[in-house]
Point group: C3
Chain length 158, copies 3
Amino acid sequence: MKDERATLIMFSGDLDKAMAAFTIANGAAGQGLEVYIYFTFWGLSLLRKETGDGELFLEKMFKRMMPVGPEQAGLSQMNFIGAGSSLLKILMDQKDSATLPELMNMAMEREIQFIACEASMEILGLKREELIDYQHLRVACVKAYLEAANGAQINLFI
Amino acid sequence: MKDERATLIMFSGDLDKAMAAFTIANGAAGQGLEVYIYFTFWGLSLLRKETGDGELFLEKMFKRMMPVGPEQAGLSQMNFIGAGSSLLKILMDQKDSATLPELMNMAMEREIQFIACEASMEILGLKREELIDYQHLRVACVKAYLEAANGAQINLFI
Amino acid sequence: MKDERATLIMFSGDLDKAMAAFTIANGAAGQGLEVYIYFTFWGLSLLRKETGDGELFLEKMFKRMMPVGPEQAGLSQMNFIGAGSSLLKILMDQKDSATLPELMNMAMEREIQFIACEASMEILGLKREELIDYQHLRVACVKAYLEAANGAQINLFI
């Protein structure tokens, strides 16, 4: 039997894909589904908050290239070193569209479950303290994702 | 219970991804599934037809960067400012493969349901008149997608 | 009724996406699901082995641009002409993470079903002999994918 669940794998850290993901997630939660988002690889950048350091050189290089939080996300296409991203933000602002940080806040108000991929965090050298504070965020492995996805109504890789 | 439905989110406007999407969609329709394609963000470019203008400057800039219709779609990888895309078209032509416009026509003959994402259209400044004429194309929000996806056999984000 | 199956469409040939795909596939197989991976477009590059030639000029050009096998896969983001990819490999090595070839070997030990998309192979001019030798690899069309996906617990497009 299918359970009333939806899961998204947030692999990309792109602004446009993240906006699509959170719009779907919030919509699904609004329709009464229990929603899980599994953040892996670049998707983890959406969960990063600013911190100090103390990390190894290579990790630091990699993390310096990764955006920090939803405000810094670029576009998956037509990014032009950030110009496309700024343009999209201006257009959304003119239309009073919800921004990515607003969509993420909505997701947290709706108690959408966030799972941060343990293996990706280890490879990228990210620690739990570097991620946002949110009661329903836990660090876990792909097994946790699969348990949620197996038998869910909707599963997407974004 | 699962319904005999398949849904695709057409987020990308890339030629290769669109070809994969319509091949899957046509195959699923051929196997008797009711198929829905939800066009959002760059995927909307596939539904654009040539028109005059009257739009605001920023929207115009953004739309000028977006391809118009399936003939202008680029590749997701190895695009080389269109060279990869042309090369792929030459190879497909040599093999008598169906082109993207042909695959889209097949989808319309099979009465696949097209949903154009209302919020993306608003942000990008696209109007209904700028999209292709097709009886089974409607403009709607993510709720319409979720209703189709909830309980469908196959749901993909492309 | 839902069968105990999971299917992945491996459309991308990127190192990071392929690692995510095989991690999910191996995890799902470990939880007792029957797993199918449908390799199409760039994803086919993961199945290529080194060979001689005898192919047409255009195909050769296209294939020369495509990576050969999992060792040559680049990143979907921050690739910097291979630098990001090397950096990720160094980080993974330091952490003793499984490499992509290791993840693919695991998948084959778990007898995950590989399907190579016939139409993409034809367009790209790839022949069966150019793909890796693996008992559970077969060349088939999208119909084979849809049969596995229809009624599966988890379906993802990567």
